[in-house]
Symmetry: C2
Subunit: 191 residues, 2 copies
Amino acid sequence: MKLAKILPFTRTLMDLAVNEGDIAVDATVGNGHDMLYLAQRVGESGHVFGFDIQKEAISATSARLQEHNMLQRVTLFQASHDQLIEKIPAHYHGRITGAMFNLGYLPGGDKRIVTKPDSTIRAIEQLLQIMAKEGIIVIVVYHGHPEGAIERDALLHYTKAIDQKRAHVLKYEFINQMNNPPFIIALEKRS
Amino acid sequence: MKLAKILPFTRTLMDLAVNEGDIAVDATVGNGHDMLYLAQRVGESGHVFGFDIQKEAISATSARLQEHNMLQRVTLFQASHDQLIEKIPAHYHGRITGAMFNLGYLPGGDKRIVTKPDSTIRAIEQLLQIMAKEGIIVIVVYHGHPEGAIERDALLHYTKAIDQKRAHVLKYEFINQMNNPPFIIALEKRS
């Protein structure tokens, strides 16, 4: 397959935004794969802030970063991502160049615990406030479960209405697949 | 802007598919910009077939290719793209790796002459028959004019229903812009 699949394309988009020395955010750390990738991108001189409400996600991510000797590049919060504006120290505000969301439930975890549209949208709003200009937010929307479909619709309604002077909003989606595969919404902050 | 705009992204997609020695198709040559780009991609050992129903498009494209000394790399047909399966010699069938469509009217030309959904869909069907496996078709959908909106809807209806075993269908679109900006539909042939 030559066209980029969803997960590789999230990395392509993040590669545009996050470089050595940058500050990044993983709004849904899950099992820590994106945290590890972001920690590698920002290098020793950058930093990554990660959020998850589930203790097991924080533990798994912490273990994964430690295994790669990169725990000192990250700060993990067992908290909802809609607390990021208060949790991330103020002197980092304006310096965040990339942020990632993987919506839905923790892979391998309790499927009853899912991201919710209201807090997801509040977290995006907070990021648009405290990111650097040209900062990119990548959201992978998993909408195969009932609450995921509701979150998808709320998120599309919200992002379509974002003023085009405030952010570019891109949708990257395979439109002929069965079984509601994930798709990407990416925002680039303009002002 | 870091996220790729529509026209640069069409080139990114075509770059995945079209290389030295390949056979390519421009289904709507217009003023010849994409023909020149495709002729450069395929090199001296490849070939590009171009279609347009308007004489002035064929003339402009021919002049542009001649100016760059690449006229021998292309064959131009003043014909609808739904004749491509009969116009492109049979020994090239199975060897086409990339095809481009810019829907709508000729820039700077007669805006009453526009691409039509039925012939556009027939041309795509023909390409899916005669392209190489992993061949990519990139369609830029201009839907700001009344007939463009009809063509957009017909094309989305058709492409969403393509069997996922036959082709991947990607949509790349900025969803928060005013004034119906163009978007991309890209197909990758699977079987």
